[in-house]
Amino acid sequence: MADDAIRGYGTQGGPGEVPESRQLLVRLSVLAAALTAWVLLYRVLSPIACALVCAPLGPKDASHFVSALWFFAYEMPKVLMLLALVVFGVGVIRTFFTPERTRRLLAGRRETAGNVLAAMLGVVTPFCSCSAVPLFIGFVEAGVPLGVTLSFLIAAPMVNEVALVLLFGLVGWQVALIYAGAGLLLAVVAGWVIGRLHMERHVEDWVYEIRMAEQEDASRSLTWSQRIDEGVVALREIVGRVWIWVVIGIAVGAGIHGYVPEDAMASIMGAEAWWTVPAAVLVGVPMYSNAAGIVPVVEALLGKGAALGSVLAFMMSVIALSLPEAIILRKVLKPRLIGLFLTIVAAGIVGVGFLFNAIM
């Protein structure tokens, strides 16, 4: 069954089809050439930006406009290139994980260890928020504890590679690491807490009554050629969807970079005003953005003196607490559990905000 499908795509099919080794060789050659070009181009991005902007208009801090323009000319190709590389890589990694495999890895696990594993798997398992409901049902059906399932569902949208790449490219690897770590920790703790509260009664009854067929796990039977192809598909799909937001976001960031004075945000989102963390979370709740749009804003806020904790809280709130997600979850969770879920995640995000305002 699954084998026919697997053999079906990525190859010509039928007699006379090209052997896997040949296909792989072609792909690896192209990949090697592409990576070489990537590295060479990456190293000259700054000189190119200078050639485009500084040569005709003067040094980069000559005026607000030049400053903003240089920022745009340098950051835009840089971020897009990083994004392409990471999305491709993660796309390939994701072929090793399917929801079916993750479900099998998590079924019947005890809490705590299960929460940690679920959060980590949430990052690498391909997941589209439109499948949140079938996935939730599938997990619960297979005996994955409720808290563990929720750890997965919190980590998956929040710790996503687009967010991490953008943070790394625009803000710095430290913040990217902090964001990833805080997101995972939040997923583990929130899921664990909900598990301890034994809210199983607050899952819609019909979820437990559904009989779900067993589906094969396709992750093992893919060839490397197919995995590379999947990486390319992910690249086209994600970058194709997201690039416009990245460009807009960087343009906004460039404007703020060039025109807004330093420390402008320090008073509004500075570390002294404790109320900025809960306020940032509240402001973020009704907003929903994919990571691509929000990171340039984050970069601009940080660059102008906003406190790290408040900004992290804002970003997490925008991505993790979203109305669309709550609507989807409403199908499988009763109102009290949804309320609890949102409250605990929000509280966790506020906690993260305070923590980083205090230590940074």
């Binding site: 079906g8 079938p134 049902i137």
Partner: protein, 78 residues
């Protein structure tokens, strides 16, 4: 044969349906497209990530939007 598109109405599901339609037209196969968007039905297939494509009840791929070429190959093999 029945080409079943499982999904609950997101953009990807529509893309998959469009590709499937094109694949059927291209290959000239005697097939009709059946959209399955009710959750209990989707669960019966054991699918956890939508969109998914099944042919006559057998799930061929889930969680991705197959290209027209990929679907055409599946139609010919079915």
């Amino acid at each position: 044969m029945k080409v079943q598109i499982l999904g609950m109405g997101c953009a990807k599901c529509n893309d998959l349906a469009a590709n499937a339609k094109a694949a059927i037209e291209q290959s000239g196969a005697d097939a009709e497209i059946v959209k399955i968007d009710a959750l209990p039905e989707i669960m019966k297939f054991g699918v956890m990530s939508t969109p998914a494509l099944a042919i006559d009840g057998e799930v061929k791929a889930s969680g991705k939007v197959l290209s027209v070429a990929q679907i055409t190959t599946m139609l010919e093999g079915a």
